[in-house]
C-alpha cells in the first residue's frame, strides 16, 4: 500500500446523542486513496453514525472528520464535493426514469454539462439493463436501484465513497456484481469506507477491516493479516465478549 495522505480521516471522533446514548467513542481511522475500509459490527455498533458524521448529517460531540483534509464540521459544503454516498436502500424519485435520476444527482454533484450518452455509459458500466435506462425507477428491483445508486456515486467522480450497508438485502449475484464495481472504483484510486454486516464480502473486498462494538473500534486487521486469521471467528468472539461498558 502506498502511503499517500488519507482522503477520509476521523480523529478522536465521539458522538453522544441527546438521550445520553454514546454511539461513537473516540474513533480514529483513515482511508487512503485506492483503499477499501470495511466497518463491521452489530446493529447500534456505530457504523452508520460514523458515516452520518462524515456527511455532516449530525455534529460530533468531540473530534473531527476530515474529507480530503477539509474539516467536515467547519466547511461541510466544500468537504462534500469530495465524497459520494450510497445508502443501504437507494430510494430515488420513483416517477423519474433511471437517466433522469442520474442526471439530477449528477448536477447536484457538480456535473452540469453531461450529455445523455454519458449517463448511459455509466449505467452500462454498472450493468444496468439498457431497457431500464428510460424506465421509471418505481418499477425497479432493489438490485437495480443499488446499481443506479452506485452509478450516481461513479458519475460524481469524487475521491471518496461512503457506503452504508450497500449489499444488505441483495441477492448473491447482485451483491457480487456490486462488489465488482467497488473493486473497479478502488482500482481507480477512490478511498472507500463501507459499513456492512457481511463478514465474507468484507474480507473479500476490504484492504482493512475494522470491527466496531458499542461505538468503539475494537479491532482492525489488514488484508495481509487476515490471510492468517479467521475473520469470522474474531468477529464472533468480539460479539460474544463482555459489554465494554460493564
Amino acid at each position: 500500500m502506498t502511503k499517500q495522505n488519507p482522503i477520509l480521516r476521523a480523529e478522536d471522533l465521539s458522538k453522544r446523542y441527546e438521550d445520553g446514548v454514546l454511539a461513537l467513542d473516540h474513533l480514529n481511522l483513515d482511508v487512503r486513496p485506492g483503499e477499501v475500509y470495511c466497518l463491521l459490527g452489530a446493529n447500534g455498533a456505530g457504523k452508520t453514525t460514523t458515516i452520518n458524521l462524515f456527511l455532516n448529517f449530525i455534529p460530533p460531540t468531540t473530534g473531527t472528520c476530515y474529507i480530503q483534509g477539509i474539516d467536515v464540521t467547519k466547511d461541510p459544503l466544500e468537504a462534500k464535493k469530495y465524497v459520494s454516498f450510497v445508502s443501504e436502500n437507494v430510494m430515488l424519485y420513483g416517477n423519474f426514469t433511471a437517466r433522469q435520476n442520474l442526471e439530477f444527482f449528477a448536477k447536484l454533484g457538480g456535473k452540469t454539462n453531461l450529455i445523455k450518452e454519458q449517463y448511459y455509459q455509466v449505467m452500462r458500466r454498472v450493468s444496468l439493463q439498457e431497457k431500464a435506462f428510460e424506465q421509471r425507477v418505481k418499477t425497479f428491483s432493489k438490485g437495480m436501484r443499488q446499481k443506479l445508486g452506485i452509478s450516481i456515486a461513479i458519475i460524481k467522480d469524487a475521491p471518496a465513497v461512503l457506503l452504508d450497508e450497500p449489499t444488505a438485502g441483495l441477492d448473491p449475484k447482485a451483491a457480487e456484481e456490486f462488489l465488482e464495481i467497488l473493486g473497479e472504483l478502488k482500482n481507480e484510486g477512490k478511498a472507500i469506507l463501507m459499513s456492512t454486516h457481511d463478514i465474507f464480502r468484507a474480507k473479500e473486498i476490504g484492504d482493512r477491516v475494522g470491527i466496531m462494538k458499542e461505538g468503539r473500534l475494537v479491532m482492525e486487521r489488514t488484508r495481509e493479516e487476515l490471510q492468517y486469521e479467521d475473520l469470522v471467528k474474531i468477529y464472533i468472539d468480539y460479539m460474544k465478549s463482555e459489554p465494554l461498558t460493564a
Partner: protein
C-alpha cells in the same frame, strides 16, 4: 481534482417541476382548479350580464332622485358586496327607500351559491398549495432521498428555496394561465367593458391571490420540516387550514358582536317606525287643535324633527356598526384568509370599505337633494359615484392586508428554514 461548479438553484427548481408534471396529484389538482375557475367565471359572467340588464331597467331617469350603481365588472371575480352596492336608493322627503337593484334572478343560487375567484383561491387553492407543500421534506426523509441530496455540496437553504420555487411555479403558472385566459375570454364580450383602471385592479387581485397561495405553500413546507412522516404533516396542516379558513373568520365576527352592542336592522327599523308614528300622531293632534290653520308649517316642523331624529339614529347605528366591522376585521386578520378576502374585495371595489363609502355618498346625496324635494321641485341632480383609486384603496387598509400576507409568507418561510436546518435527516 477539477473545481466543481456550485449547484445551480435551477437544478432543484427544475426537478420539482418535472416531479410535479409526472405525478397524478398534479394533473388531478390542476384539472379540478381549471374546472372550478372556468365554471365560476362563466356563471358569474352570466350573472353579471343579467344584473347589467336589470340595471338598464332600474337606472335613474333624468331628474329622478335615485342613487343606483351599475354592477361592477370585477364582481365577476370578487363578488363581495356588489349586490348590496347595486341596490337602488330612492330619496324622498320621508327618507331613503332601498330596493333590490340588480339581483340574481335564479333562486337556485341561494342553495348553491357559485364560488367566485376569491372564494376558490381562499378555500380551494390554499388547500391545493398545502397539498403541494405537505410532504416536501418529510416524504423525502422517509424515502431516504433527502440523505442522498444532502450528501452533495448543496446547502439546505438552496434545497428549501428550490423546492419552494419549483412548487410555486408548478402551481402558479397553470393558475395564471387559466385565470388570464378566463379574463381574456370575458373581455371578448363588448358588453363587458373593463376600464383601464379595472385591468390594473384585476392584475393586483391576481397578485394578491399569488401571495396568498405562496403563503400556504410556505406553511406546508414549514410543517413538513417539523414532522418526520408526511401523514402527520397532512393531518396537522388540515387542522390549521380548517381553523384559518373557516373557524377564525367566523369566530372573529362572533367575538366582536359580544364586545360591541349593535342593534339589529329590524330593531332600528322599528324604532324609526315609532318616531314616524309619534310625529304623525302629534301632527294630526296639533292640526286638529289649530283647526287646520298653519298645517303646512306644523307639518314641516314635524318632518324636520323626523329627519333629525332618523339621521341621528342612523348615525349612531353606523358608528356602532363601523366599530363592530373594524373590530371584526382586526380579529379576523389573525387568519390570512380574512386578510386575503379584505384586500382582494377592496381592490375589486366590492369590499366593506367601498360599500361604506357608497352609503356615505348616498346620505350626502340625500342631504343635497332633500331641500329641492321639499321645495316641491321635480328635478333632482343625478347621483354620481367614483370608486376609490387603487392608491386610496391601498392607503385605506389594502396595503396593510397585502403587507400582512407578505409578512405571513416571510414568517412561514423563515420558520421552515429554521426547522429544515435543524431537521434530522437520518
Amino acid at each position: 481534482m477539477p473545481r466543481r461548479k456550485p449547484v445551480p438553484l435551477w437544478t432543484i427548481v427544475r426537478k420539482e417541476i418535472i416531479a410535479n408534471l409526472l405525478s397524478y396529484k398534479f394533473f388531478i389538482v390542476i384539472l379540478l382548479t381549471t374546472l372550478l375557475l372556468f365554471t365560476s367565471f362563466f356563471v358569474l359572467y352570466k350573472d353579471y350580464k343579467g344584473r347589467l340588464a336589470d340595471y338598464e331597467l332600474v337606472r335613474a331617469k333624468p331628474g329622478e332622485p335615485i342613487a343606483v350603481l351599475p354592477p361592477n365588472p370585477l364582481s365577476i371575480f370578487a363578488k363581495g358586496l356588489d349586490e348590496a352596492m347595486t341596490r337602488s336608493f330612492e330619496v324622498s322627503r320621508i327618507g331613503i327607500a332601498v330596493f333590490a337593484g340588480q339581483k340574481s334572478g335564479n333562486i337556485i343560487f341561494a342553495y348553491f351559491p357559485t364560488p367566485d375567484f376569491v372564494y376558490i383561491v381562499k378555500v380551494v387553492l390554499s388547500l391545493v398549495a398545502l397539498l403541494f407543500g405537505f410532504d416536501q421534506i418529510s416524504r423525502e426523509k422517509e424515502s431516504g432521498v433527502l440523505r442522498l441530496m444532502l450528501s452533495n455540496s448543496v446547502s439546505r437553504a438552496k434545497i428549501l428555496a428550490g423546492k419552494w420555487l419549483g412548487n410555486f411555479l408548478s402551481l402558479s403558472v397553470p393558475f395564471l394561465l387559466v385565470t388570464l385566459l378566463g379574463f381574456a375570454l370575458i373581455n371578448l364580450d363588448p358588453g363587458v367593458s373593463f376600464p383601464a383602471s379595472s385591468i390594473g385592479r384585476f392584475f393586483l387581485l391576481v397578485l394578491t391571490a399569488l401571495i396568498y397561495i405562496a403563503l400556504f405553500l410556505s406553511l406546508g413546507i414549514f410543517v413538513s420540516a417539523l414532522t418526520r412522516r408526511a401523514a402527520s404533516s397532512l393531518v396537522i396542516l388540515l387542522l390549521i387550514w380548517t381553523v384559518s379558513v373557516f373557524v377564525v373568520p367566523n369566530l372573529g365576527t362572533l367575538v366582536s358582536r359580544q364586545m360591541v352592542d349593535v342593534p339589529s336592522v329590524k330593531s332600528l327599523s322599528e324604532k324609526q317606525d315609532q318616531v314616524w308614528t309619534r310625529e304623525v300622531l302629534e301632527l294630526i293632534m296639533e292640526s286638529r287643535a289649530k283647526n287646520g290653520r298653519g298645517t303646512g308649517d306644523i307639518a314641516k316642523n314635524h318632518f324636520d324633527a323626523i329627519n333629525r331624529e332618523l339621521n341621528q339614529m342612523e348615525e349612531d347605528y353606523r358608528n356602532k356598526f363601523d366599530r363592530l366591522v373594524r373590530l371584526s376585521k382586526n380579529i379576523n386578520r389573525l387568519s390570512p384568509a380574512a386578510s386575503f378576502v379584505y384586500a382582494s374585495t377592496e381592490l375589486a371595489g366590492t369590499g366593506i370599505g367601498e360599500e361604506s363609502r357608497l352609503k356615505e355618498n348616498v346620505l350626502r346625496y340625500k342631504d343635497s337633494v332633500l331641500p329641492n324635494l321639499e321645495r316641491g321641485e321635480k328635478q333632482a341632480a343625478a347621483f354620481a359615484y367614483r370608486y376609490r383609486s387603487v392608491g386610496q384603496v391601498l392607503a385605506q387598509g389594502g396595503l396593510f392586508d397585502l403587507t400582512w400576507l407578505v409578512f405571513f409568507n416571510i414568517l412561514f418561510f423563515a420558520l421552515g428554514y429554521v426547522a429544515f436546518v435543524r431537521y434530522d435527516v437520518r
